[in-house]
Symmetry: C2
Subunit: 410 residues, 2 copies
Amino acid sequence: MVNSLLSKRSAFAHNSILEEEKVADSIKKRGGRVIEINRGDPAIYFPTPKYTIDAYIKALKDGKTEYSRDAGVIPLIEAIRKRYMHKYKVNSRTEDIIVTAGISEALMFINQAMINPGDNAIIFKPFYNQYLSQLKISGGVPVYDNYDEKNNWELNPESIKKTLKNLKSTGKIKHTKYMLITNPNNPTGTVLGRNTLKEIVDLANEYNIFLISDEIYDEIYYNGASFTSLSQLAKGIPHMILNGASKDFDSTGFRIGYALLPEKDNASEELKSKLAEFASVRLCVNTPAQYAFAESISNSTAHEAAISHMVSEIEKRVNAAVDILEENEKIKVIRPNGAFYILPRVDFKSLKIKDDHEFVDKFLREEHIMLSRGSGFGAESHVRVVALPPKDILEYAMDKLNSFCKKYSK
Amino acid sequence: MVNSLLSKRSAFAHNSILEEEKVADSIKKRGGRVIEINRGDPAIYFPTPKYTIDAYIKALKDGKTEYSRDAGVIPLIEAIRKRYMHKYKVNSRTEDIIVTAGISEALMFINQAMINPGDNAIIFKPFYNQYLSQLKISGGVPVYDNYDEKNNWELNPESIKKTLKNLKSTGKIKHTKYMLITNPNNPTGTVLGRNTLKEIVDLANEYNIFLISDEIYDEIYYNGASFTSLSQLAKGIPHMILNGASKDFDSTGFRIGYALLPEKDNASEELKSKLAEFASVRLCVNTPAQYAFAESISNSTAHEAAISHMVSEIEKRVNAAVDILEENEKIKVIRPNGAFYILPRVDFKSLKIKDDHEFVDKFLREEHIMLSRGSGFGAESHVRVVALPPKDILEYAMDKLNSFCKKYSK
């Protein structure tokens, strides 16, 4: 008999969504329909643009089915380079870009490449859950700061300064490998202000912290917001931008992301070479999808039409959902201006519901609507809504959320 | 200034091929042509079958561009289940199969899920280089046994028994997480005998070692060989089969592999759940390619035509190359009967060439033909030839190899 084979780190490979999925599956098996507002997948509700699909088909017909260049096919690298040049005035070279199987794989490489057991990384609550899993799988220890709910989920440079000072005074700063921000944010749906970003860059510079900005939603902002990329402000400061095909380009199932490290300091050069080596070990990512994504980026006219339609729809859907949630006395909600998530705070206690886990579970079982638990994002008092379904379905779901809360208020 | 950010483990993410690729690139830049017989990519020489491409295109047109089920789309899981049922009489359930981004990703998950720093795994020299990199990246320590060059690169059960006994007597067996074999083998091109496999299964059972068999070339055998899958012999014994789309199905650039764990003992159940959790953390692999691969497997008539053509061509090419290499006095070569690799032993010393590194480098610079160094596979006295190019090109390359050796013999 073979005994347990699992490693200690494997405990951190855990996705709480699997529990809810089991409940949803059993509802579906009994013939029920489940409204899933728990997964951030635009391609379910907005078909991937035809010009992208056509490019994908062309790549297949052209026989682009071989292993590709490890760090990404050159036409894609070029498309990414030009995007950053035109959009953010960032100069970059071929070797500054590593194409990965989604940002997921980039996070795995980053943590494997940078984190020794016990090393720290600064991440902000609420966080995208993979930041924490990948960090911990590599033996890292998170140092938390917070997106400030009292200030529209904005980051607080004063608080970040305290965090960094504290790391310095305890000697831990030497082992703090990166600070990771998400802009626009998942799960809060907020866009960071330019001044906040500037202060963060200055702090990173002062404390010699490598900055990473996950900007996968960088074309999805609305309600009057404007977006600044870290790459515009961090010139001369070691940093990395994460981005990809999934959200702006509505191609989640392609699994194509990338890391861009435009700086030439020694640490950045060493890191990008090493990420390329990690890419080389696993050979490459899906080849024809890389060509499709190259065209997604390069055909700016077609992309502009697709993204502007999608963003204006998302704006309407998010606002319609928030409008309804604002009527709920048990909920406090901040109106997002980016991505497509809403993270309402729910007064579980007054509903006599133990926590977000029980809330999401009950709501799913009783109303057949699937939310995400806030605790998966480090936000235990919240639930996450994905505001992507058509307005009528989303409004139905939010009405149900309100009546569910009313029912439990009694 | 940010100091070095790299982790200790990152030293193991290293692919020596990058050095040769730089040389090749410079030759190409000067207008030269390089014959690349270093990468095991059938899709370069045999177009991916049209029925597979058609299925891929259909999936795209049907809008299969969303995130998929984490561990793989059900039609693919079903196709894999049926393949193993029909081909190897293996019963399996949905949860026994985890679809990954090539075997590469499966290896990453396996090592992350199983290996604590300092844990052992038994691997055999020569090995596919990723086995070692992924094991070491996860902090594991290889225990080597050998494919026996004196016995046609067959595994030697007596030697394996010694290795296991030694691990037991030193108390290390408790921390030996798996024994990994490759059949047919990369880089030796040999198919393991049924009796050898039986003895290995018995030993794994006796010493309670979890067995893994990488069978990515399981339809590519010839020269009269017959193939036995570990899954046919290891019923009741905890084990895992690795396989995928790349080789038999000539779809390297899809990056679709899978792990099959058909057993229901506690260790196997726990491990497959954990691998599914690792899959869940990174969301999914390329969705439309999964549908294409499902059709690759399911359309057995179309597949049979494609694979029988490919294997008969590979047989001719391998034999033609070996025939020429046998004329070379500085080389000892074992004729492969599986996969598409040849691993000749080269008498570097009598050529006054320091090692495989220098040999491959000189041969590339002088003849513009790119081999792989044996040392990347733990075979320091060898070089690896990929016998996939058309016969005339391969014969030209082998003639050049012979004349190169002659030149340096003087």
